[in-house]
Symmetry: C2
Subunit: 477 residues, 2 copies
């Protein structure tokens, strides 16, 4: 296997990514079932931290955490016609148990609408029961037919799905904004850069009125959908017979939303956006270690130096800190190892630091070193972690902006896609134009900005008729 250090994420994304996954102990992809991978300790740690961050936001904004089953019945799964059309090509089906065929086959959830909504029907009676807002972090299963790829395109998908029920269309609209804000907050804390796009109608969630999605940039120019928010209107409440009594005593179907946040795709974005030729670069919120302390031992002074470093590690114990006092590794080997693992800060101390009562602090993002006095170390490192987080975010948004470019013809779109970039273009709104662009340029029409108003600057790049939207166009995972 090629070492991550020999690779560059922009030039050889796939190799860079795959070797980092193994070397930084994120994922082992050798599990003998295609599309199912094993998350190693660092991958599992980051997934957990991202999950905790999101769940905290959801719990603090009125969502109740519940746990719903893995399976649904064929009858429930088939109720919403668009939904079944969208998902049936990829559902896994349990057909037997204990060696005997099941009387009723079980559909393994590709998402949980058809599992949760029969319960919502039982729970929603009156307007006083609304809004109903629940969420669950779980795994969903989709028999992805394209080539699988760890974290990005897998058949077992760790995510959070939230589902809300509202009395009015206006409240449902408001909740779309709120959900977008929740996802934004978490992604921002991770320093990730993304586009918030309203998907074109032909690419909305199966059964939704419309879909809003977060597309994070990826070094190979293929955007990575990390989260989606769907306004379902009354499509599901009608077929699942969810009804409530209004204040006026009328019976109505409520409006619904569902939104999903892909943990493994967010993990992929953290790796891809922040990582560099040396390996991972982790934001502090998810770093398994914030600081590693490395003694630079010299013969005869081993004990003094290790004790000095132990004291530093002690001072940093409010953070996730590790004293790497392994005797069978050189400082150089330790530096290489922890840089590859993405530990944001390294503190070194050798004879010079001991003599001067200082420590040398290395920051992983810029690779800069600074010497600080011993009593300053803790305060300095805490501040530095915040500065690294800020810098990672700024850097990532800079790349995102550079990656997007305006295109005023099909040729220009094609060129940008070939250059692994994202095209912004004017579009007339017709599916035909989107399809013929796909044939010509190979990417996908991802939609128009949801969070800011952007108006088309010219005619449709395909048909030259008046454009109605300024849309983003890219290859995608």
């Amino acid at each position: 296997m090629a070492s991550a250090t020999a690779l560059n994420k922009y030039r050889n994304f796939s190799e860079w990514f795959d070797s980092l996954l193994v070397e930084a102990r994120i994922v082992d992809d050798r599990f003998p079932v295609k599309g199912f991978s094993v998350y190693l300790e660092n991958g599992a740690f980051i997934l957990r931290k991202v999950r905790e961050m999101l769940e905290e936001e959801l719990n603090n904004t009125g969502h109740k955490e519940m746990v719903f089953p893995l399976v649904t019945t064929e009858e429930l799964f088939s109720r919403e016609s668009q939904h079944i059309k969208g998902f049936s090509p990829e559902v896994f089906v349990i057909e037997s148990a204990g060696g005997k065929p099941l009387e009723n086959k079980l559909i393994v959830r590709p998402t949980s609408e058809t599992i949760m909504y029969p319960m919502f029907k039982l729970w929603v009676r009156s307007h006083a029961d609304l809004p109903l807002m629940v969420h669950q972090s779980n795994m969903v299963y989709r028999h992805e037919t394209k080539a699988t790829r760890p974290l990005l395109r897998v058949r077992e998908i760790p995510w959070n799905e939230a589902h809300t029920v509202h009395a009015t269309a206006a409240e449902a609209e408001q909740q779309v904004r709120k959900a977008v804000d929740i996802y934004k907050k978490v992604l921002d804390r991770l320093g990730l850069a993304y586009l918030i796009l309203k998907r074109p109608d032909f690419d909305k969630f199966a059964g939704a009125k419309y879909s809003v999605a977060f597309d994070a940039w990826n070094p190979d120019g293929r955007v990575n959908q990390v989260g989606t928010v769907h306004n379902l209107g009354k499509n599901f409440s009608k077929v699942f017979e969810i009804e409530f009594e209004t204040a006026d005593g009328e019976r109505e179907n409520p409006h619904q939303l569902c939104y999903g946040f892909g943990y493994s795709r967010v993990l992929a974005a953290i790796i891809s956006q922040h990582g560099d030729d040396r390996g991972l670069v982790l934001p502090s919120a998810v770093a398994p270690l914030h600081v590693v302390v490395v003694p630079i031992v010299f013969k005869g002074q081993e004990e003094t130096i290790v004790n000095y470093c132990r004291k530093i590690a002690e001072d940093l114990k409010g953070l996730r800190v590790f004293l790497d006092d392994r005797e069978d590794k050189t400082p150089g080997e330790k530096f290489y190892y922890w840089e590859r693992m993405g530990v944001p800060v390294r503190v070194e101390a050798g004879p010079r630091e001991v003599a001067e009562n200082t420590a040398t602090v290395f920051r992983r993002d810029t690779l800069e070193k600074k010497t600080v006095s011993l009593e300053e170390v803790e305060r300095y490192v805490v501040r530095l972690l915040a500065e690294i987080d800020k810098n990672l975010a700024e850097k990532s948004w800079r790349v995102m902006r550079q990656m997007v470019s305006d295109a005023s013809s099909v040729e220009e779109v094609k060129k940008l896609i070939a250059e692994r970039r994202v095209a912004r273009l004017s579009w007339c709104g017709s599916t035909d134009c989107a399809m013929s662009l796909k044939e010509a340029a190979g990417g996908e029409l991802r939609g128009s900005r949801f969070d800011v108003v952007e108006t088309p600057s010219s005619a449709c790049v395909v048909c030259q008729k008046p454009a109605v939207e300024l849309v983003y166009y890219a290859r995608a995972y």
Copy 2:
């Protein structure tokens, strides 16, 4: 549906339990697939807290959290002959995806040995890689053929499974003790009472050398297995070809352990052991709310009293506290509601308390009230929570001790089982005697104490031959 308050857990356990599950928002069992239930917000909260407590212990004792897939292949599943014999009658099998039969059927995990150990084979090379210790909280699936029952006998089982690999038999033995200690610690923090039993050979885990289990008591006398620790010896390492090089350069199969902690069964034990005729009684570690503050409003003083209570709630904000200032409910209704939900402490304040600058503190376990001065409230409540936890544990252990009684004949065993109690009896060790006892008395031979040495006091209660073990006998979930 009968109200929980009309029921008694010892006299009508099933009705008491089922109505509490719904009323205290633990589980909704109306999901249309048998054996799969929905965990409502309080059930999900308690599951989460128990999970966090256990995971913290596991992480602090060298176990690494990883995430392994839901499925395995038929080939892997079938490798260990006893294991497949034990589990194949209850595995769910995915046979198709996207409407097409799968070339290779997928076995849904009933437990993860056959999923993890192919990876262990790749990871374990030398003695330096050992011990390997991983854990994962997940759901396992077993097509339980007996009648299902929420939390206690379900087909989708939330649990944690830990798996360890050791160089020597002695280390594996030590790890059995350590695992038992970890589970003990968590169960003790929850105030639960249990027997730690070494299961008889005919009832060990499929593929294990021997099994140790935690049987928690239940009001109906049927013990509830909440955790198990299995010493697998080399049974699995041989068939999964896990090998390591010893310090002497020899190649050996390592020794393995697996241990599982059933979250839903622990939740059942919390409800069943601590609950009373009024509803749940929750230990502080898992209570969604520690304290509810209820204003006892009198006409004309509403605002003063509610503000007074708000100040109390503020003072308690280090705890999980809720000010129940709903205007459409009487204090009596609120008392009833929160008692049923098991909130350990209630603080009340009305005109008298406001006038005297005090608060009335009610403890859920003993139903006692005490008036304390306002500035004392916080300290008093914190201390009271610890006292309630202690009292719940003592009470639970008292019941456990009373539930167990010595039996010196088959008739006595039968009588104890009929009285919903646990029999302790001398046994010769033969499977025949265990089976004939089962036929006569209807319970199960659960094994002998693992944590203390108990020697048989008489001849085998069945055959009258010399006894080799003092064992516990009970009906079981």
